[in-house]
Structure formats: C-alpha cells, structure tokens
C-alpha cells in the first residue's frame, strides 16, 4: 500500500476494515504491521510489532534451541529423545505417507474399475469393493474433528436450554445446581467405561449410520464439555440488565418474546464464552477418550505409536502433540471470532 495515495479517506476506511476483521478473528498481532505499512506513527508501530511478533518468535526460538540441545542427552529404551529437526522430518514423513496412501487408493480403484468392466463384459455379477488401507494421519485428524464437533453439538443442544431454564428460574437452578456441582469435576476417564457399556447395550442397529466408537467418543466429549456452557448460560441469563426486564414488563411481552428478544440476546456473549470453554474442554477430553477406548482419531494414533515402540515413536507422538495443540488453538480462535461477532457491547473478549 502506498503512503502517498492522493485520497486519504478510502484508504483509511479500507485500513480500519482490515484492522477490524483481524481483531474479529483474534489475529490482532498483525494490526501493527498493517498500521506500519500505511505509515502510521512508525516508531510506535515498530515497538508494538517487536512486542507482538518479535518477542513470540524469540521465545519460540529459545524453546526450540533448548529442546534441541537437551533432547539428545536423554536416553530412553527406544533411543534418545528426538529434537525439533527429527520431529519435523517425521511430520513430513506422515504427510508423504498420506499422499502415498491416497495414490495407492486411486490405483486400487482404477484396477477395480478395469476388473469391473471385464467382469461385466463376461456377463458376471460384480460387487463393489472398498479400499481397506490403513487410515493416514490426516484421516485421523479428520475423524477427531468430526467427533469433537459432534460431541460439542450434542453438549450445546443440552446445555444451552437447561442453562436458560436455570438462569430464568431459581427453582430450576436449585434443582440442577447439586447435579452440576457433582458431575462437573468428573474426569472423562471415569465416564468412558460407562458410556462404552451403555452404547453397546442401547445402540444395536443392524446397519449403524454411525460407528459405535464414534458415538462413544462423541458422548464422552459431550458429558465433559457441557458444563462450562451450562454454567455460563445460566449466569448470563440470570444477570440480564434489570432495565431491560423492566422494558419487557412495561410492554407486557409474552414469555417467549421476553426470552428470545430480551433474555437470550443479552446472555449471548456469556453463552459464547461458555461454548468456547466447552469446545476447549471437549478437544482435550477427546484425545484421552480415543486413546483409552481405541477409537479412531488422533488419540488412537498416539496410542498406536506408543505400542509400536520403534525408533520413530517419540518423534511421531511429538508431531501429534503439536498437531493437537495447533488444532486446539485454531478452534479457540474460531470461537473467539464467533464470540466477537455476537457481542453487542464491543467489549474485550480475548
């Protein structure tokens, strides 16, 4: 962007839009760069830039250097602890493996197609066969994401309405409070066996639409992640501005209008705070659930690598650790963006 543009206004509007979008996405660390590019107070912006970008880069660098220098000196039964370089190599290997596997699948499907034509030409009946290769690293990530969102969706569908009821009525709140207090701190590892047994007993369809393992993991995620949403929703509903409720009373709004036009919109920022916390908890719980229940996903990947006990095991698990962390971070940013889009007060919600 040039700094000597003839008309200043359109550029200013564009800039403030870009900055607002970045803010909304929770990427405010890039804001100083935009301001610097447009020549706004270079001294201040450079200082901001050093703090918001330079310092994090430096701290990551220090972390990698320490890791690299210390890792090699730790010997385990399966070789020394891998440094950043080995983990990076392993990450690339997992990506390559994914493409190799996909190529195999394509080749398999092509072979089958040729065979199918031959058989049909000979007048024989043909039954389609699916490629049954092992799931790649990306398949596992995709499964985990589907599972966490399914569980999160179920949790939200339960937690938001109950939270609203608890916030609206002291009686409901008194009814649910002890249950919430007792179940909230329970670890996913305790829920999992119960869920597994119940799903086995109750989910007995001939041709299941969902895999049993998927349901087990998703429900475990739900059970652990519904609490933050429930508690925050009920708090948000209970703390609606008295003036706003007075407006509803003066207008004699019917119950439904009062709830949907006044109470819920006013509680939305807190509801979204709850949802954001819930998704974070859900993602954390999911890995544990998949690992313990041998359900497909990133957790199973970690477990399988652990069982392998090869020289790459540690590096592969570390790749998984970074993947889990980065996805968790991305999910959080996603929820922050949603949260900002519904907050009417323009308040800070970082």
């Amino acid at each position: 962007m040039s700094t000597d543009s003839p008309s200043l206004r359109p550029k200013g509007v564009l800039k403030s839009r870009v900055i607002r979008t970045l803010d909304g996405l929770g990427l405010e660390i890039f804001v100083p760069a935009i301001r610097l590019a447009t020549g706004e107070e270079p001294g201040v912006q450079i200082r901001d830039l050093i703090r918001s970008v330079g310092v994090p880069i430096l701290s990551i660098g220090v972390f990698l250097a320490l890791w690299g220098s210390l890792a090699a000196s730790v010997e385990t039964s399966i070789g020394s602890v891998p440094g950043p370089a080995q983990v990076w190599t392993e990450a690339q290997a997992l990506v390559d493996d994914h493409y190799a596997e996909r190529a195999k699948e394509v080749a398999f499907n092509e072979r089958m197609e040729v065979k199918k034509q031959e058989w049909l030409a000979k007048g024989k009946t043909w039954k389609d066969r699916k490629y049954s290769g092992k799931p790649t690293y990306f398949d596992q990530i995709w499964t985990s994401l589907q599972t966490v969102f399914a569980g999160f969706l179920v949790a939200s569908l339960i937690a938001v309405p109950i939270g609203i009821l608890c916030g609206l009525s002291r009686t409901m709140n008194a009814a649910f409070a002890p249950l919430i207090q007792v179940f909230k701190p329970v670890s996913p590892l305790a829920w999992l066996p119960i869920v597994m047994i119940l799903v086995s007993a109750l989910y007995t369809s001939e041709s299941p639409f969902f895999e049993k393992s998927f349901i087990t993991s998703a429900l475990t995620v739900s059970l652990c992640s519904l609490w933050p949403t429930l508690v925050n929703t009920s708090l948000g509903v209970a703390s609606v501005d008295q003036d706003h409720l007075n407006v509803a009373r003066v207008l004699k709004l019917p119950w439904t209008t009062r709830v949907f036009k006044i109470v819920v919109p006013s509680a939305l920022p807190l509801i979204f705070t709850g949802l954001r916390l819930s998704l974070g908890v859900g993602w954390m719980v999911l890995i544990a659930a998949e690992m313990l229940a041998q359900n497909p996903g990133l957790g199973k990947f970690v477990w399988d690598m652990f069982q392998n006990g090869s020289s790459q095991t540690l590096a592969q698990i570390m790749v998984a650790v970074f993947t889990i962390g980065l996805i968790g971070f991305a999910l959080d940013r996603l929820m922050v963006a949603f949260q900002r889009s519904v907050s009417f007060d323009g308040g800070a919600t970082a």
Partner: protein, 295 residues
C-alpha cells in the same frame, strides 16, 4: 394557549401512597403519604434532589413497584402491575443494544399493536422514529448513537406505545447542556402535537419551568413527600432565550429554588440531629506504592 389547566376529573390519581425498602432495622421509608392528582392532558413536572425518591415515584406509577399503602388509579381504574398504557422513558434509556433504532421501536409497536398488520406496524414505528428526527439513522445500533440520539430513541419507543400517560424519568439528565436544550424544545413540540398527559421527573428547575404546566417539588427523603404545587402560566411555545428575561419565569424559578433550598437545609438539620455511632476504623491505604507513569 395558556394559563392554569381547567379543573377537571383527575386522570391519574395517587392517594396515600407509601413505599419502604429493606427489612427490619434497615427498613427505610422512601416515600410517605403521597397524594397527587393529574388532570388529562397536563404536563406535570416533579422536581427534587437526587436520591429523594423520584425514580421510586415513577416506578410506582409505572407499576414496576407495588406501593405498601395507598392506591394509584389511572383513568378511573386501579393500576395492577406495569402495562403499555403507561409509557416509560427510563433514566438510562434501557435501549436493547442488540436491536437497531427501528428494532427497538418496533419491539414496542409489535407487542402493543399485535392486531395490526405487519405493514401497518412498520409504518407506525417508522412514523415515531421520524418524529424524533432519526429517520436517517434508523438502521443504527444504540452503541453507534450519541447520548442525545439514544434519548430520542427512548422517547420514540415511549410514544410508539401510544400510552395514556407518558412517564419521563430524568430523561435528559445524562446529556450535555446544549443537547439538553435542543431536546427540551423537541419534547415540548412533540407534546404540543398530541397533548398527552406527561409526568416528568427532573432535578433541573429551569427544565421543569420550560416544559410543565404545573411543578410539584418532592421534599427530600427519607420519608419524602410532595410539596405545594407551583403553576406555570407561561405562554407556549416557550422560547428558552426569551423566557429567561420574563419576570414571571424569574419569579417562579426563585420561588421553587427557595422552597427546595429551605426544605433541603431543614432535612440536613434533621439528619445531623440524628446521632449515629461512628465505627472506630481507620481506612486502609490501598494506593499502589508507585503509580505507573503514563506513556
């Protein structure tokens, strides 16, 4: 059009109303033995110091608060709970921040005129938004409006309910002096257009004289009660610059100010006579050791 309102059947009738808050020893009587009757079409102002129970009085009329004793009747019927026949413009405006200007007014119109068609309701809401001069800003959210504009939305919403009586609770107290002056004239114009009964609560004697037909001071609480009524026989429309030199205006202002000062020093003397045992505590010094310097 001028002079004292004709003696007619009271439209709003408050008799022997008292209201206390709190329990046991902490119980304080905020309003005591309030009697008030307002004829239809009158613009009544109630002036008083902050904390004298003005908002409680409005809340009682609005039905948001129940009186402990006494009755409040509007148009011959005892009021029971809040209702859209008494439009309230809250001191804090109480606009819903997630609705636009139109949305806020429409919420009132939709609930009060539920039997009208969608189109009719929209026209109605739009009419009030334009009446307060916000036609061009009807799509904005409260956070994008200035204080004066928010106040106008609140007035538009109050009027759009088409209430029998409009209750204004210090509607202009949060605004700067210039915006106040503009809105005072606008409120007078809007009132002159359909002559609704209005009860205005204010702490500004000039504002009361500019707008009202009759002014009643509220003696400072606790146990606040109403003082004697002051008629305002000034010609309408009242021009705020011209009226400043009007001897009648000056006289009314002096009388009311004197009255308020007298009752307030009386109340202060009464308060100082009450002996309160002061707790023997020393405040903690919570200041930070070194104040951060601004960049």
């Amino acid at each position: 059009m001028s002079a004292a309102p004709l003696v007619q059947r009271p439209f709003l009738e408050i008799s022997g109303v008292s209201k206390s808050f709190g329990e046991g020893a902490a119980r304080t009587e905020v309003l005591s033995e309030i009697d008030l009757s307002v004829p239809e079409g009158e613009f009544l102002a109630i002036v008083g110091f902050s904390g004298s129970g003005k908002t409680t009085l409005i809340n009682l009329i609005a039905g948001l608060v129940e009186p402990d004793e006494g009755t409040i009747e509007l148009d011959g019927r005892a009021i029971q709970g809040p209702g859209p026949d008494r439009g309230v413009v809250f001191q804090t405006y109480a606009l819903l921040p997630w609705l636009t200007v139109m949305g806020n007014v429409q919420l009132a119109v939709d609930s009060v005129f539920a039997n009208e068609s969608k189109r009719e309701r929209e026209v109605r809401a739009r009419r009030y938004v334009e009446m307060v001069g916000l036609g061009a800003a009807h799509w904005k959210y409260p956070s994008e409006l200035s204080g004066g504009m928010r106040q106008r939305v609140a007035v538009a919403r109050g009027l759009a309910m088409d209430p029998k009586i409009l209750l204004l609770d210090e509607p202009l107290s949060a605004l700067d002096a210039l915006t106040r002056a503009t809105l005072q004239s606008e409120i007078e114009q809007i009132w002159a257009a359909d002559r609704k009964t209005v009860v205005l609560i204010t702490n500004d004697v000039d504002e009361a004289i500019l707008l009202a037909d009759r002014i009643i001071p509220l003696r400072p609480g606790p146990r606040a009660s109403l003082g004697p009524a002051f008629e305002v026989p000034l010609e309408r429309p009242r021009d705020r610059t011209a009226v400043n030199d009007d001897p009648q205006f000056k006289k009314i202002r002096n009388e009311i100010t004197h009255y308020l000062n007298a009752v307030s020093s009386q109340a202060a003397r009464a308060a100082s006579r009450r002996r309160v045992k002061k707790p023997d505590v020393k405040p903690l010094d919570l200041r930070p050791r070194s104040l951060p310097t601004a960049r």
